[in-house]
């Protein structure tokens, strides 16, 4: 049984058909890349998975539960986590508090009011900050970070919810080459406990970290398979050549 299965997803905005029967299957601990030219529907599909949009038709199944009409918080509680395309760290809070905010989301209100989980979560917060190379900035406001560091903080926050599936929308957007390389390194260890769906323009980056790829074109799935299969696929080569 796959972890996530989206079938026959269509999304219509007025007269524009952004998605037309797209499908996606992601297994346990699988890194799955979603690629395609601009306007092919990658981000729309991502939003339908995360619950930011409700598909016009189709069904999203996550861990044997139909989550199609779940709100984003309901999906988050079911074990999905999303990193936004535009960074959405909380700029005036410290890095520490940003992570703690994500980690304590599952604490009860009473525990929160009496700060009962604060001591226990301290270790975890610091571990995450170390893992994402942000520990020396722990008590600075998130707004003071560089763009790349803010992206890392966001990934750390998304992971702090202990998801089974992480959705990343263009995590390396605006990053330098070196930052991209580090991002790839930072993502590798999460494979031990988490699957990943990633939308990304940087094909080299995608090829390096993903197990499988799905190629979208004009709202439809053009091809889906292992990285090697996709690389050998003629029609995929064509749409990328056509674009170039």
């Amino acid at each position: 049984m796959p972890l996530l299965e989206a079938a026959g997803i269509s999304k219509v905005f007025g007269k524009l058909t952004a998605l037309d029967g797209a499908a996606l299957t992601v297994g346990e601990r699988e890194f799955h890349g979603l690629i395609g030219p601009n306007g092919s529907g990658k981000s729309t599909l991502m939003k339908c998975l995360a619950g930011a949009l409700v598909p016009t038709r189709g069904k999203v199944t996550f861990i044997n539960t139909d989550v199609t009409s779940f709100t984003p918080p309901e999906r988050a509680r079911a074990g999905m986590s999303l990193k936004f395309q535009i960074t959405a760290v909380l700029p005036t809070l410290t890095l520490y508090d940003n992570i703690l905010l994500a980690l304590q989301a599952r604490s009860s209100l009473l525990d929160l009011a009496f700060s009962r989980t604060r001591g226990r979560l301290h270790e975890e917060v610091m571990t995450m900050l170390l893992q994402f190379r942000l520990a020396d900035r722990a008590f600075d406001a998130a707004a003071t970070l560089s763009h790349g560091q803010q992206q890392w903080l966001e990934i750390a926050m998304a992971l702090a919810c202990r998801p089974r599936l992480l959705l990343l929308d263009e995590p390396t957007g605006g990053m330098s080459l070196e930052e991209r390389r580090v991002t790839g390194e930072l993502l590798q260890p999460i494979k031990q406990h988490c699957s990943l769906v990633i939308v990304e323009h940087d094909l080299d980056f995608i090829r390096d970290i993903c197990d499988r790829l799905t190629v979208l074109d004009q709202g439809k799935v053009l091809a889906s398979g292992t990285v090697a299969e996709i690389q050998a696929n003629r029609s995929v080569q064509e749409i990328y050549l056509r674009r170039a």
Binding site: S81, T92, Y96, A138, F139, A141, Q150
Partner: protein, 358 residues
């Protein structure tokens, strides 16, 4: 508020970065200015009646009650980002409630009327939250502010039209509040009672807002949608803080009713709820103490100006308010309080860290 860093860091950052995380956490964001300010104000407020003439102490008591009211607005707006323009609804309903208790049932014991007023504010806020905040999808700021404003306006009109509530005149000559057999009338006794209640509620609010619950509220204020994606039940958080704030406004309203000795429709209406917005914006929202300072200064200024510039004082006050909001959009408190201390830091205390260490 900018969310992107520049990448170029001032030298102090480099020094900070050189510290180990453990060292950094030991020095992190521990408040400095705030406790001093709070303590100074508490001392000033404690000795004030000894220095002031009695009629000014009476005025100061009213100001302290309004501080409590302002605190309730700061809780929802400054901490949770809910723009409640109907805060007077809870203030006024509690005021009318205890006035009726006194008029129709002869109940005046402080141990009955204060809890009753607090409960009225709490329940009214909870009911209104049910309408305005508890949908499946989060409601917009405009919807909530117009909803609360409409509530206050409607309550004002209803009270004006109600014979039972005394119509335009309200309910006059409420019997004094009693503690046992002692009657509490305006003056230093009432002043210290209100001060004690204000300090107690201030400390309770401070405790709550610096807890992990306070961090969740900070997240709510900064980016509601983001924390919903973490799995927070955003609407529940809002309803809870809204109801707590209603309860505090209710406490303030019942104190106000007994202190003034009468209630009238203005207590329920739009004038009162916009006044409290001004107090908090003037002093600075999201710090608690800012709300207290704002109320004290606005009321103090009105008192002094109306004595000395009888005809044009509202204009002078209005211009002053505009200037502050123009040049100090974060309120007067931002003159002495840095960004980090204002927003707060929610990491564990040293003691908690020691307990957590293996």
């Amino acid at each position: 508020m900018s969310s992107t860093g520049t990448g170029i860091q001032p030298p102090s950052r480099v020094i900070e970065a050189a510290r180990s995380p453990v060292m950094a956490s030991a020095f992190a964001g521990r408040t400095k200015v705030l406790p001093i300010l709070e303590l100074a104000l508490l001392i000033a407020a404690s000795i004030a009646p000894l220095l002031l003439r009695d009629y000014i102490t009476v005025y100061a008591t009213r100001v302290l009650i309004l501080c409590l009211f302002a605190l309730s607005f700061d809780l929802v707006w400054g901490y949770a980002g809910i723009l409640s323009l109907g805060q007077s609804l809870f203030f006024g309903m509690a005021g009318y409630g205890v006035a009726l208790l006194s008029r129709d049932f002869g109940v005046g014991s402080i141990f009955a009327v204060l809890p009753a007023g607090t409960l009225i504010g709490f329940v009214a806020a909870l009911l209104l939250a049910g309408f305005l905040l508890l949908g499946r999808h989060p409601s917009s700021v405009v919807f909530v502010s117009l909803g609360t404003l409409t509530g206050a306006y409607a309550a004002d009109r209803l009270a004006r039209g109600s014979h039972y509530l005394g119509g335009q005149n309200g309910i006059p000559s409420i019997q004094p509040m009693t503690i046992g057999s002692h009657e509490l009338s305006e003056g230093p006794g009432f002043y210290y009672l209100v001060l004690a209640i204000l300090v107690l509620i201030y400390l309770l609010s401070r405790f709550l807002l610096r807890s992990q619950f306070g961090l969740a509220l900070a997240g709510l204020r900064e980016n509601e949608q983001r924390i919903a994606f973490f799995g927070y039940k955003v609407q529940h958080l809002k309803a809870i803080i809204f109801a707590i704030s209603g309860a505090i406004a209710g406490t303030a309203g019942s104190l106000y009713a007994f202190h003034e000795g009468f209630v009238w429709t203005n207590m329920l209406g739009v004038v009162m709820s916009t006044q409290v917005v001004l107090y908090v914006l003037f002093g600075g929202s999201g710090t608690l103490i800012g709300a207290v300072i704002g109320t004290a200064i606005v009321e103090g200024l009105s008192f002094w100006l109306s004595d000395n510039y009888r005809d044009i004082w509202p204009i002078i006050l209005g211009v002053l308010l505009l200037l502050v909001i123009l040049f100090r959009p974060l309120g007067l408190i931002s003159l002495v309080l840095g960004e980090r201390e204002r927003v707060g830091s929610f990491g564990p205390s040293l003691k908690e860290k020691r307990n957590a260490a293996p």
